[in-house]
Amino acid sequence: MSWLSDKFSSTLSGGPSKESPSWQWFYRLGSPRWFYQRSGQWLPWLSLVALLVLATGLVWGLAFAPEDAKQGNSFRIIYIHVPAAFLAQSGYFIMAIAGAIGLIWKMKMSYMVMKAAAPIGAVLTFIALFTGAVWGKPTWGAYWVWDARITSMLILLFLYAGVMALQYAYHSVDAASRASAILALVGTVNIPIINKSVDWWYTLHQPATIKLTSAPSMHMDMFMPLLVMIVGFYLFYAVALILHTRNEILRRERKTSWVRELVTAKAGG
């Protein structure tokens, strides 16, 4: 009989990770300790690659790509504006997906990712807005024009601000995570509606003038550096997200023994 009980208890304590190795990574990812240790190993390499890709894209785009026939050299802001805008939008979806995973599987780790993603996305949205405004000056003659793209970005900044404000409003970590996850999900449903409405509103009030980022007619020599920059921004986003998530782990797990062991090992060694 003992072998039976042994087997039974091992199944219980081992959980599904022993049962199905294909899901192992998922359960491991749910462990803050595992994530903290592994991400510490990846981080230097990831940062190095991100730095190299960003530097390549910037030098290529700013110094080597040909200038735009209509907009001249001011068009080079595209190499910052578009990747930032791209990541600002994807960042919201990444945040919402992390929140959804947290709500569905009750995974602490993904709530931490969600919380970490909010300020990064907000800063990227700010970058997109700022560069868009600066780009507007030589193109339209004014820093702020109620252009459809820029207005959508502004609303996205408000959405990020809402998630962050809700996150900080609750003292209870659990309530803060779940409430802002719901808000992020509601936002995800609404972002396409908001963007479509703003596009429609813009065509209603203004005939199409020079559009920033007229992608389809872009020459390959201009497009390649942009692609490199988008990849670079994605890598940068990953680095920033890991850094912020690691802090969130430390903040929430500071009473646990593994964090204490980590600190004493560092102090001793």
């Binding site: 910037l58 001249g72 050299n73 080079r76």
Partner: protein
């Protein structure tokens, strides 16, 4: 390089101010996104370290107190 000289690259036929200022603000914001968490992490680790020290001190104090108590009792 697309430009003939370094000055031409800086000037960008008059649009240099716009391009370089947006690059500067972007890089500053991105650096802040990376450097701020590093400082924060150091502060958090120090905080944990302080907690551990405080706990060890308390345990040590409790041990010496109990030792001196037993010493007094035996007298």
């Amino acid at each position: 390089m697309y430009f003939e000289s370094f000055e031409a690259l800086l000037n960008m036929s008059g649009h240099g101010v716009y391009v370089w200022s947006s690059l500067a603000v972007t890089l500053a914001a991105m650096l802040w996104l990376v450097i701020a968490p590093l400082f924060k992490q150091r502060a958090l680790l120090q905080e944990v370290n302080r907690d551990i020290q405080r706990q060890q001190d308390r345990e040590l104090a409790a041990k010496t107190a109990s030792l001196s108590d037993s010493h007094e009792e035996s007298n």
